[in-house]
């Protein structure tokens, strides 16, 4: 009886945690994959894996980076299975139009289209910094990069985004 109660409490706590974090995890997976359906699959698989490995999460405050790590790994596995070689960005943008729509806000829609066009190695750290609130050191740790390499990618990401959005950056060409 106690086991049942304990199991239910454990499940409720886990599901509450997932529900709270799910929106940002879905957004992260979406910007990682640029495919809403794939993002939903990846997040669902992540939750299943997290449930099975939840005993390894000793501190609930670390749940977000823990889940994000599982998402990245799960996405990599999916990518490996699908063996995607070439990506037509215009096609991706067309496919994901409902996700990118911004209710009459053209600036926002343009920004989303520009984000789609960023190379993966620039988009991912940028999303981690802006959406997930990661510090440079945390991004470096997660991506297995040096701090300076992360800084370079973040700089290039914003530089390219601004160019794609038609904003000039005189005087900021150095790295």
């Amino acid at each position: 009886m106690n086991d049942v109660v304990g199991g239910n409490a454990k499940r409720a706590r886990f599901e509450s945690l997932c529900q709270a974090l799910r929106p940002d995890l879905l957004r992260f997976a979406f910007w990682l994959s640029r495919d809403r359906a794939l993002a939903e699959d990846v997040v669902q698989e992540t939750m299943v894996r997290a449930w099975k490995a939840q005993d390894s999460l000793l501190d609930e405050s670390a749940a977000k980076p823990w889940l994000l790590t599982i998402i990245r790994r799960e996405y990599a596995r999916t990518f490996e299975r699908k063996r995607l070689v070439t990506v037509d960005v215009d096609e991706l943008i067309a496919n994901e139009e409902p996700s990118l729509a911004a209710a009459g806000d053209q600036e926002l829609a343009d920004m989303r289209a520009a984000l789609f066009k960023l190379p993966d190695e620039y988009r991912e750290p940028l999303v981690m910094q802006v959406l997930m609130g990661y510090s440079t050191a945390e991004i470096a740790r997660e991506l297995g990069l040096s701090g300076p390499a992360v800084l370079t990618r973040l700089f290039r990401a914003r530089k390219q985004l601004r160019t794609l959005c038609g904003e000039d950056d005189p005087g900021s060409s150095s790295e």
Partner: protein, 239 residues
């Protein structure tokens, strides 16, 4: 003293960088103040753009999904998997010759990639509950004799288009991962050592192949082969 270029590079890297040198430059540079004001608008748009609408639907019952089988695709993905399978079949026909030339390397790499994606499989030593293990074995139409050792992880996993049993068995050399690959064709026993995993892929007559891996860097080829032999002898095929 920081110049315009250094300032702009720094804020384009991290607009919230608290470095006092940035603040000092900003106080004395009207051009960079204008740049920063514009950048704040850009950052605001960027943050809004990243926050795409996501469904407010209640999450799936994760525990129930996990208890069915872990890496299974759900119905929403079924159509895409079907398409993927069709593409894979077509691809397999087109590149069959190349594939046949390099089967072992590809299979070993795929097995290692799968292992790396399930680190939780290595972390427990407790025996899997009998019903859970039975379900996985039954899916694969095999039985496992007691001499295989304690099974501490059992999952029916999607692997190269098939659902295969992924087991971790406790041995004197630590945890040993076993994947029963009835759909694979393996001409001969092949040892491999990839990404810290040492293993062997053994052909099993009429039943595909068996992949056995250990993480112990001290384990030599003979030890791995011995473990693989024992695992192989403990499997009873029921089809």
């Amino acid at each position: 003293m920081m110049d315009h270029s250094q300032y702009r590079t720094a804020v384009l890297t991290d607009p919230n960088d608290p470095d006092p040198k940035l603040r000092a430059h900003l106080e004395n540079c009207a051009q960079c103040r204008a740049f920063t004001a514009k950048l704040q608008g850009f950052e605001s748009n960027l943050a809004r753009a990243l926050r795409i609408d996501v469904p407010a639907a209640a999450p799936a019952d994760v525990a129930a999904l996990a208890s069915r089988r872990s890496p299974a695709r759900q119905p929403a993905a079924a159509a895409r998997w079907l398409a993927l399978a069709a593409s894979a079949l077509l691809g397999a026909v087109l590149v069959g010759t190349i594939w046949l030339a390099l089967p072992t390397r590809s299979l070993a790499a795929a097995v290692v990639a799968h292992m790396a994606g399930e680190p939780e499989a290595w972390t427990t030593e407790a025996a899997v509950p009998v019903p859970a293990l039975a379900a996985v074995l039954q899916n694969a139409k095999i039985r496992l004799m007691p001499q295989a050792g304690t099974v501490s992880y059992a999952s029916s996993c999607a692997f190269r288009g098939y659902v295969v049993p992924h087991l971790v068995v406790q041995s004197e050399s630590g945890p040993v991962t076993v994947m029963v690959l009835v759909h694979e064709t393996q001409a001969k026993t092949t040892q491999f050592d990839e990404q810290g995993y040492r293993g062997v892929i053994v052909p099993v007559k009429d039943h595909g192949a068996l992949a056995v891996l250990v993480k112990d860097p001290q384990a030599d080829a003979a030890t791995v082969a011995k473990i693989a032999q024992r695992v192989r002898e403990s499997i009873v095929w029921t089809r």
